[in-house]
Subunit: 485 residues, 2 copies
């Protein structure tokens, strides 16, 4: 960049950096392609300069909690805040947002809104659209906002749902969100001042007490399991905070990550291998597990646990204790790190997800796995792992997460092969009645499927919205539709 | 209408009627102004002809249940179906939608979507946006739809929320909705064929068993009551299907509607008047009541009732039994009929509602009542009733319903006076932090306040959406914004 342009930029009174690290970090996202390029081939393009809103020299990251309203249990938060910072800050005041996506160590509130994020504990706290009471978005045409903070309004089309899922296209970092918070005894009660607290009774009540994780073993990842256990819980309104069902491949993979690998190392704490395999007839190569996370009034949780276990026992499931449950729950956080580590061992791995009606869930899992196997053969991939997990459950269906990884030794274009296989998998997902995404969003990776998923009238409506809010295409990030006009 | 135009119309192969009754019914809506005009002054304009979609001679009302998917607990229903017909049809198959707005005897599924309706039992079944899995809207530009029936998707901005709240502006009656259904033992189990039912286990489970209504008496409609009882239930995730809190005026009004009027007629079944007023110290002119409706697994309901009563007792509330509870719940349905009957007795009455954060709820109720009293004086209104009720509760606030009625004997322009007073009341509501509407929508009556409630960027976004979907303003019903361009 010429010194002249730079000095003009600096004269505008915004924060500017030409530091190498600042530029490198902004040169890539976190997709497999980008991280692989960063490590193996180098990045093709790097920005010359990074610009932030805010005064020169004081780069405002827009990541503060502006206020916490204890009467209404809402907080006003700048969109730049990172999940773990938000939780730490709220916890120190005795609160939690309850929003816990796998990525919450790195992802931001604004990102959650932009992609329509879903947290692991959505059964208790809701998805991001349930948490979002009020949102202010600065667009190229001015500020889009709804001044009233009523908990639910009927005021024409709800433009919060245009901001949700906008994927950064008409976005600006000075977005503000008012989100629901919950009291949490997990993080210690707030020791506030003695100032007048009209709703103090409300706040003194114990609310969401993390009671612990549990694990249920089942014989087979099957339609019967969904029918007689997993899909019943939302229908019966007795879901725990989080419920996740891993298939056999993922269960075994999880066990292999333990300090002393082996399927039954920790299980021996509470259950004998012989009991599981011989007496109960579980097969090591077929069994799958459900992890449950409970929160709330301990008395309520006890009753709910009993209810869920009675359903589980009816179809032959075995409660397998808390240590294993915690392990299963933590695995999700760990897996993101594994992806980047695995690259050092010539393994390319990534996850992709979808939502699907209950009756098509098993068909979708089976077909996607078979399709991946077939396409691996086509691409001469010998060693690979494809596994899946039900991660969210609803009345009408569930979210399914796939993990796919393969050894790319001998592949000429490892990323190209990966892309081809994932593309085939998404075709298969959609052919089986699955969605383009449950909570990752469309981005660039899935923009190929976007038009058909919203109909041509939907595409035109999106384009007119984009033209209206960002007529000069300032936020030209290429998500959703490559060309917006 | 000239015979020539009529014959041209008939040649288009759509259903046409010039019958007086068909034309009269379409000449007015159900607002107070329209019903008053119909009865007292006559309608100014009546359509010459009514046209329906569908073939000539067969007027298709678009009100069928196209299919019921028992695996995923969803049904595909045409938008023209009326609430009570929908429930009757679903009940006969062992299901319920759970959506029960006060108006459900007359309102339609399409209307619920268009106005963002809220049912009395939303705590268990959700509001209309929670029930709506998939919606197809025929616009002037083509069909807007999302082919995937996944329970939740992240696929850019969610245009379902542009259809929800669209208030008939880009609407067409051939809209189709896929909505969640729930099993209900209340209506008898479906005696189907012996055909293959893969998810039959799921369906065999008892689900929503109506356990009954309950009533809790409280001393005063006060901030303390909200703080220590009503607002705690959503925060503690222990709300019954329906919870409604009536103020003293409404409680007394309800009692006066009984066959043998008197505040304590039925209360004597379980509680002595002397116990209530002397020992417990309740004042007949201050006490208020909460009606609770429970549904679900009887065992769960018992536990939940016990929990709610223990909270109620702490702040001095008294459980007052089931007969009174049922009475309070039914009052809501009755009140719509009373409005039209009251006109014969020179009483103009109507309801209006809002949503508001918890901490502003009592302020809003008090100020609106005082404002109405003040404006009645200005308009020389001597006899009037203003009362309110909390009808829906959320984590961050509640919905408040006002009933206002007055004797219009001696008023020159009864409707004009009513409009003036309601207009003042809405100004007051918004000044107190209330919304333009919780679930009635904007329509024409509240279009005055719409622009400020969505910001000027919101108005422009609405206009661009309208231009995109209905460029020739075919659906020119004047809701939300009088002029759309």
């Amino acid at each position: 960049m010429s010194p002249k342009v730079l000095s003009l930029l600096e004269a505008t009174n915004v924060s500017v950096s030409t530091q190498g690290e600042d530029r490198l970090i902004r040169a890539h996202g976190q997709t497999l392609y980008e991280v692989f390029s960063l490590r193996q081939t180098g990045l093709k393009r790097i920005p010359d300069v990074v610009v932030w809103p805010g005064e020169f020299g004081i780069s405002k990251r827009r990541n503060s909690i502006l206020w916490l309203d204890e009467d209404n249990l809402v907080a006003c938060i700048e969109a730049g805040i990172i999940g773990q910072d938000l939780e730490r800050e709220l916890n120190s005041r005795g609160y939690t947002s309850g929003h816990e996506p796998d990525s919450y160590e790195f992802s931001s509130l604004g990102g959650w809104v932009a992609t329509r994020a879903s947290g692991m504990k959505k059964n208790l706290y809701g998805n991001i659209e349930d948490l979002l009471v009020q949102v202010t978005m600065v667009t190229a045409r001015g500020t889009l906002e709804r001044p009233c903070r009523g908990p639910r309004v009927s005021s024409g089309p709800d433009f919060n749902h245009v901001i949700l899922g906008s994927e950064g296209k008409p976005f600006n970092p000075s977005l503000l969100c008012v989100v629901l918070c919950c009291l949490s005894v997990a993080c210690g009660r707030y020791q506030g001042t003695n100032s007048y607290k009209p709703f103090s009774n409300r706040n003194q009540l114990i609310r969401f007490f993390p009671v612990g994780n549990q694990l249920v073993l089942s014989h087979l990842f099957s339609r019967a399991l969904l029918t007689s256990f997993i899909s019943l819980l939302p229908a019966q309104r007795c879901q725990p905070s989080s419920i996740r069902l891993m298939d056999n491949a993922q269960f075994k993979f999880g066990q292999s990550l333990r300090p002393v690998p082996g399927y039954f190392g920790l299980l021996l704490d509470g259950l004998k291998r012989i009991y599981i395999t011989k007496i109960k007839g579980f097969s090591v190569d077929e069994m799958c597990v459900t992890t449950l996370l409970f929160e709330g009034d301990p008395e309520d949780v006890k009753k709910n646990q009993a209810k869920i276990y009675s359903i589980a026992l009816k179809f032959g499931g075995i409660p397998a204790g808390e240590t294993n449950g915690m392990r299963g729950y933590m695995l999700t956080f760990v897996i993101a790190y594994i992806r980047d580590l695995a690259l050092d061992y010539h393994i390319l791995a990534e996850s992709f997800e979808t939502s699907v009606p209950w009756d098509k869930a098993i068909l979708l899992c089976t077909n996607v796995k078979q399709r991946v196997a077939r396409e691996c053969k086509v691409m001469n991939v010998e060693h690979y792992l494809i596994s899946c997990r039900v991660t969210q459950t609803y009345d009408a269906g569930c979210c399914i997460y796939f993990y796919f990884g393969y050894n790319f030794m001998g592949q000429k274009d490892p990323i190209g092969s990966y892309d081809y296989i994932e593309h085939c998998a998404r075709d298969e997902i959609i052919a089986c009645g699955g969605s383009i995404s449950h909570h990752h969003g469309v981005g660039k990776l899935r923009s190929h499927w976007y038009p058909k998923q919203v109909s041509s009238v939907g595409v035109e409506l999106y384009q007119s919205t984009k033209r209206q809010l960002d007529p000069k295409n300032v936020f030209a990030n290429g998500n959703l539709l490559r060309s917006h006009l």
